[in-house]
């Protein structure tokens, strides 16, 4: 299984019924493909819609209906459209239950850096600073290392996105929770040893349950199981589109 898919599947288990969730562009978008059965989640796109669905069939794209990454989407029944001021009133006013964002670095105090690399790329923070400052839960979904270097570090070397401590870090190797005491290793990916995780991490990890840290479950997901309901990114085609978009975003950065 690809690292991205492991991460997206594990993050999806954090989704709760009847909540409002914002998925950052790129990897986090994939989380929408793995919403657990029986869970109803409203996804917000900060460019102004709640309740968007799968990419539309070829030739039926609406030029006025896109997600925050500029990709065509469709609207689910019951969707609501609104302007940017309203969208960020939702984000900053504590109405967003959870956001899932990519990360460049997280430090031992749980601070996230994900919007620029000085002297290299300055894409801008977009809505990231608002999302981290405003969402009830902030989940960082990122690969554990970049070109062999740990992305979880003792102290940020990149500019932080917010002063606030994120709620959870999910990588293809582990689930880590920043706490008052420090970064706590909560779960390891199936087949990954605690030693591997520690060796790939640039900050001290507190071991929750010692070396016997529990491995997280990745339930088999029947891709077409929900064919009767609106797709919600669950069909092969939509997942392929979203995966391609996620990779495209990464190539841009």
């Amino acid at each position: 299984m690809e690292a991205k898919e492991v991460i997206a599947r594990r993050v999806a288990l954090e989704l709760r019924d009847r909540t409002l969730v914002n998925l950052g562009i790129g990897l986090p978008t994939l989380v929408a493909c793995y919403v657990p059965a029986g869970i109803s989640v409203a996804f917000q796109s900060e460019n102004g819609i709640i309740g968007f669905g799968e990419p539309p069939p070829d030739g039926l794209e609406d030029p006025y209906l896109t997600d925050a990454g500029g990709g065509y989407i469709s609207a689910l029944p019951g969707a609501a459209a609104f302007d940017s001021a309203t969208s960020f009133a939702l984000i900053r006013g504590g109405h967003l239950d959870m956001t899932v964002l990519g990360g460049l670095q997280v430090d031992s105090s749980g601070r996230l850096a994900n919007w620029m690399v000085p002297g290299k790329i300055v894409p801008g923070m977009g809505g990231a600073m608002d999302l981290v400052a405003g969402a009830k839960r902030v989940i960082v979904a990122m690969q554990h290392t970049a070109k062999g270097h740990p992305k979880i570090v003792e102290a940020l070397t990149l500019p932080p996105t917010a002063a606030r401590r994120v709620s959870l870090i999910v990588t293809e190797l582990a689930v880590i929770e920043p706490t008052d005491e420090g970064l706590v290793l909560r779960e390891r990916a199936p087949g990954v040893s605690v030693d591997t995780i520690v060796a790939s991490t640039g900050a001290k990890l507190l071991l929750d349950g010692g070396r016997q840290c529990r491995s997280f479950r990745l339930r088999a997901w029947p891709p077409e199981a929900h064919a009767s309901a609106p797709c919600r990114h669950r069909c092969h085609r939509c997942r392929a589109i979203l995966l391609e978009r996620a990779c495209h975003v990464e190539r841009l950065a």
Partner: protein
Amino acid sequence: MQDGISAERAAAMIPDGASVMFGGFLGVGSPDRVIDALVARGARGLTLICNDTASPGVGVGKLIEAGCVAHVKASHIGTNPTTQKKMISGEIEVELVPQGTLAERIRAGGSGLGGVLTRTGVGTVVSEGKQVWEIDGESFLLEMPLRADFALLRAHEADHFGNLTYRLTAANFNPVMAFAADCVIAEPEEIVPVGVIPPDAVRTPGVLVHHLVRRPQ
């Protein structure tokens, strides 16, 4: 209501060096015909206030490429390598503003508020040089209101009074920018007689709109 104006006339009204708000999010909901006319007339030295600079050949990205722009205030320029290049070369000065703060600063500018007190940006480079206020034990950044000489809006429908509607995610910054400029020019897809848009469907009251761009002949 005045007669509708052409996109060329709208572009001619906007002098070099003007500050201009552009609706749009990655080109969706941006006033494309006026943008094309600004490029055609060779506008120079504009200050752009917009969410992002879209991509080369799309939305305000065309203004960046054509050398019309001196300053940009936006939340994101990562999708337009030309903006990055011109920023690094010093041709364009870029002020990055968190997206929610950008929306609120524009809203403050249009609503007579003295500033915006927000958690966003506290403890980041965004707070450099700005006042941080402690209110009830929490830190808030004071961000200043934002206004412009012109706001260029893309609307779905306009009636002859200038009442506007928007479509889905093409609304984005357009409604809030309608309040925050000395001259507001709207480029609608459809123009309908007064009374066709019901009062509850109006998203921008016509009193805010100074000029409507007519449909192509």
